[in-house]
Homo-oligomer: 146 residues x 2
């Protein structure tokens, strides 16, 4: 299965196991639940949101573990840390190329396509490892309410 796309629910856990195994990431319940939450909830949650959601089923879960897991999965290319223009840290379990729009009214983060946005060529001699595009403004619903 190609990575970066929405998974059928029944496949999720097996997919996570495969991805972790192929990257030599140890399988722990905490890591699986964090990654699963990100794959099944495309809401660009904060660390706090993930923590609160998973604490319900695992009261001993610690926030440090979320930070550690995000770090591990980010380095493995399975998770992206998105920083909104206002500095909030949001998590994304999908690492295919896309931009992020942050609504300053409701706080929601929306994905958008980066077609037409070419990587600049004025950086000769530089080695680009990440390329991020983000926008701030009002989303459709919030714009209409005004």
């Amino acid at each position: 299965m190609e990575e970066g796309y929405i998974l059928k629910e029944v496949d999720v856990v097996q997919t996570i196991i495969n991805r972790f195994s192929s990257r030599d990431i140890r399988l722990t319940p905490q890591r699986i639940s964090v990654y699963r939450f990100l794959l099944e909830n495309r809401i660009h949650p904060t660390v706090e949101t993930v923590y609160n959601a998973l604490k319900v089923d695992n009261p001993s879960l610690s926030k440090t573990t979320i930070y550690n897991t995000v770090d591990t999965l980010t380095k493995a290319g399975l998770v992206r840390v998105v920083r909104t223009g206002e500095g909030e840290v949001r998590l994304d379990g999908y690492t295919n190329s896309h931009g992020h729009f942050y609504c300053r009214e409701c706080g929601e983060v929306f994905d958008f396509s980066l077609e037409g946005c070419l990587v600049p060529d004025s950086l000769n001699g530089f080695e680009m490892e990440e390329f991020d595009v983000h926008a701030i403004g009002l989303c459709g619903p919030c714009k209409q309410k005004q």
Copy 2:
């Protein structure tokens, strides 16, 4: 004079006075020195860097004033707050359109042109207020050293 370009040293203070006055920003020595530092030092400094640099001539300067000033000048469109992909807050006294490249080795931030990077059209009904592009990687010098 068009805004957003490098100023001759002799013009800087008068330019700052004009820009502040036309935006009803009170002229205080602290604000002038912060903005002047950003215009004369295109190094995308941190708040800490600005604070340390200006403290030399004004020992009673407080970091809160830097934060307040950055806030005021950002809202007035004279300063940009740049957040590197790694989350560091950097300041930029130039608000014309350009992207930012962060070197993860030396920490320097480089400007690059955004020509060819079109604002996406897949956001119909949204109101875009800011549009930021940033990259992470190795700058030329750091790449060669490796």
